[in-house]
Amino acid sequence: MVAVLGAILGYPIYDLVRLSLQRYGLFELIQHHGVYVGLHNFGSVLHDAVFWHTLLRTIVFTAANVGLTMVIGTLLALLLVRISTWVRILLTAGLVLVWAMPQVVAVQVWTWMTNSENGVVNYILTELHFGNYFEHNWYVSPFSQLALVTTLVVWGALPFVAITIYAALSQVPHDLVEAAEIDGARPWRVFLDVTLPVIRPVLLILTSLSILWDFGVFTQPYLLIGQGHIVPANYLMGIYLFEQGYVKADFGRGAAISILMLAIVAALSVVYVRKMVRIGDVE
């Protein structure tokens, strides 16, 4: 049973490594076997300037998304503690509703809200005197496109992060916070010295998970920017892989990109995996 499961889960990875060492295009796909080319695919990817630009862009994108998600998520959790019960129930219900939205649905809503002709976002920004956003096109530059993707990703990720941190906050000992406050500690110091140590493990896990999710993000940028408007200048790693491996039907090279991508993600998530394995081992 376990061996079977292990095979089901492990085989794709074995296959991935083998594939990355082969020339494997449409012809080989029909023939069902590729031609061994050694490390050629890796060399070709590592010499591709687009790969390095995409990697850099993806790292900046991930840092921005994870940073925003974690900071706003923590602030939201702290806010949840302070508000009265009925507001908390309302806000939590709202967060859960947002959490439940399928990504593809959220993308469509974003498309509608930000369209340049009569998108409600332009209307509201203009009405609130943030400037004249009449017929402002949010899809005009890679930066603007990816900023829009960021709002979508962060909006979708906030509920999980905020609710989880809020749950962790309930483990912060009350008398300790009160004692610190009576001693005249400022709110910021109370947070750093009393609250933070308690919720640190949770923050760590959430950060790791967010890094994993945001680094490999595909659905939101691909659909929001729009299939026809995806160009090397706005590639993220997931899209680069999709375009180079799947669309161009160069599966060997795609596999090499996957392995590089997985290696980076693995390095980023070692903390999380080690922690989970330890839990699995203890019990």
Binding site: M1, V2, G6, I8, L9, P12, D15, Y24, H32, L79, R82, I83, V87, R88, L90, L91, V96, V98, W99, A100, M101, P102, V104, V105, Q108, V109, W112, M113, N115, V120, Y123, P159, I163, T164, A167, P201, V202, I205, L206, L212, G216, F218, T219, G238, L241, F242, G245, G254, A255, S258, M261, L262, S269, V273, M276, V277, G280, D281, V282, E283
Partner: protein
């Protein structure tokens, strides 16, 4: 005292403000779906339609392939859930109750696979399925979804099984129950909530899944409903946002309903280990 009161009001106002901002996109989707075309296309937005219409909904469900694709999604989701639950339950018991060689390696593999970004696996899975002529078939999609549903389900169910005291099962066996009987009468009812939660979670992820459906299915009659929605606008110049929002609402409804049922359990399951560790 009044200062504290004022501060409380300020926090509550902020909380309400955050609520409005977060929920607005969902509100806007539903609100748009019920508007008339004139209201949708107007330059000044209508917040609530005083003359709601369900025309966009009837149009959406009569679009080509809507029902075919809903049927595909339902098949994929149901088969994935049933197979995943059966396999994951047995594997979780093995993992929770027995020590065996390779147990640790198995845990590492399971968590590792769960951590890989799905995007990273599109190439090998596509090639593998092409080899067995499973591209553009629902069974190929189901196998793919199983590779993601299984690790999560095994991990979550394991947590539920560990929570059951071994004495309970032994007591039943001492009282003359067979191993199977003890399993059916003691273990199964206690794990049932876990099974419900995990199956709903699998249901939601399979229903929402996009990238694998996108690369594996390329025939409109075989697509899932998520793909159907992603192609809704097509390349036409006149964008029918009212219809798009009605279709979005329809695709979201089953997920939202099920999600509300299990949200607590899943939120707990994802990080419970982390908090305790």
């Amino acid at each position: 005292m009044t200062r504290r009161r004022a501060r409380g009001v300020a926090w509550n106002t902020l909380g309400l403000g955050v609520f409005v901002v977060m929920v607005f996109p969902v509100f806007w989707m539903i609100s748009t779906a019920f508007k008339t075309d004139d209201q949708v296309n107007s330059f000044t937005p209508t917040w609530f339609s005083t003359t709601p219409t369900i025309r966009h909904f009837t149009e959406a469900i009569h679009r080509p392939f809507f029902w075919a694709d809903v049927k595909n999604s339902v098949i994929v989701v149901l088969v994935t859930v049933v197979i995943a639950m059966a396999l994951a339950f047995l594997a979780a018991i093995a993992l929770a109750k027995y020590r065996f060689t390779g147990r640790k390696a198995f845990i590492v593999l399971m968590i590792g696979v769960q951590m890989l970004p799905a995007t990273g696996l599109i190439i090998p899975l596509y090639v593998l399925l092409a080899r067995y002529h499973e591209v553009n078939t629902l069974s190929g999609v189901i196998v793919t979804y199983l590779t993601f549903a299984l690790p999560f389900s095994v991990w979550t169910l394991r947590g539920f099984i560990i929570g059951i005291p071994k004495d309970l099962e032994e007591a039943a066996m001492v009282d003359g129950s067979s191993r199977v009987g003890a399993f059916l009468r003691i273990l199964l009812p206690l794990v049932a909530p876990g099974l419900v939660a995990t199956s709903i979670f699998t249901f939601i992820t399979s229903w929402n899944e996009y990238i694998f459906a996108r690369i594996l299915l390329n025939d409109q009659a075989k697509e899932t409903v998520t793909l159907w929605l992603s192609f809704y606008l097509g390349t036409g110049r006149n964008t029918d946002y009212g219809g798009l929002m009605a279709a979005s609402t329809l695709v979201a409804i089953p997920v939202v309903i099920f999600f509300l049922l299990v949200q607590r359990r899943i939120a707990f399951g994802l990080t419970a280990g982390a908090v305790r560790g």
